[in-house]
Amino acid sequence: MNEQEQQQLLEIADDELIVGWRDSEWTGIAPLLEEDVAFSSIAQNEIGHARALYELVARERGATADELAFDRSPEEYRCARIVELRLMDWERTIARHYLYEEADAKRLEQLKRSDDPEIAGLAAKIDREEAYHRMHAEMWHERLKDEPRYTAALDELRPLLEQRGEHTPELAELWEEMTMVRRSQPAGTKW
């Protein structure tokens, strides 16, 4: 796996980890019980994808998935700004979900054609699970697509899909929460 491929996988892994954390923020407080269940499951899948992607890169670098996920500083993450935002309103949550899943599907299609069989194999597995996320996003998109608040949210968030490198202050806040327990433990502590 060359450096460019590793960077690409890290970019996707970071997106999946961070969007998974954001999705999990609906656990227990979503407006419908079904959505509480759905966003919790989606979060679990996304973080599982992140772990598998980190593992592929970690093997190349003699590191662990946890080290890649949690021991970098916030500035080193390669995620897009769209996944970083803490969104506690439904129209922007669904808008991000729809935009993200659409963009994720495109890059997975490319990765499935990778010359590296490990990358192509993992992308194919991830895509099987993502198919259910896409159906969920489409279902909500169909329901909301004529609502002005929802279309405004799509317009607001779409440009953030491509913005990487310069992070929002929200990423640093999330990083504090996400790594707090790990940072408070002596190195090598086993759970």
Partner: protein
């Protein structure tokens, strides 16, 4: 000296941690068993990548192999080699008998919302196909929730992967 058959038999006794009515072998997550000089390598392919039971399964397999007097190596395959099509016929029947509707066969293309919303899915309790999709997601990532209009019973449908 341990034989591959002894290993398969031992693995067939490990229940799935979340749905203990079926074994890991019936679930189809064991791809290959290789025995060499008291060393057993198992190619193990996860169901869903975010499944929290992965480590429990790996540890349970390693323990069984040690109990056979061999050294285990659990190789986790991060590829597309597991599908719900790998659940054995016995495994599917055990799922159904426990109230989990077994998965439909994996299609060439990804499943669609129209398919999930169609009433082609059979209720595991009464056999009716008058069922409707309640939620694409369920208590674990591998299941959806459906409702049977005939026996008025909600049930869990395995997703096709």
């Amino acid at each position: 000296m341990v034989t591959p058959q002894q290993v398969w038999d031992a693995l067939a006794e490990i229940p799935d941690p979340e749905i203990p009515v079926i074994s890991l072998v019936e679930l189809g997550v064991v791809q290959e068993v290789e025995v060499r000089d008291g060393h057993v390598r198992i190619d193990f392919t996860p169901t869903f990548l975010g499944c929290p039971a992965l480590e429990v399964m790996s540890d349970a397999m390693a323990d069984r192999i040690r109990a056979l007097g061999a050294e285990p190596e659990i190789n986790v395959c991060l590829d597309d080699s597991w599908s719900t099509d790998r659940i054995t016929a016995e495994g599917r029947e055990k799922l159904r008998a426990s109230g989990f509707a077994p998965p439909a066969p994996r299609g060439a293309a990804a499943p669609t919302l129209v398919q999930l919303q169609s009433n082609a899915h059979r209720c595991p309790y009464c056999g009716s196909t008058e069922t409707q999709l309640e939620n694409i997601f369920g208590p674990t990532p591998c299941r959806s929730l459906r409702y049977c209009a005939t026996c008025r019973q909600p049930f869990e449908q395995f997703k096709s992967i």
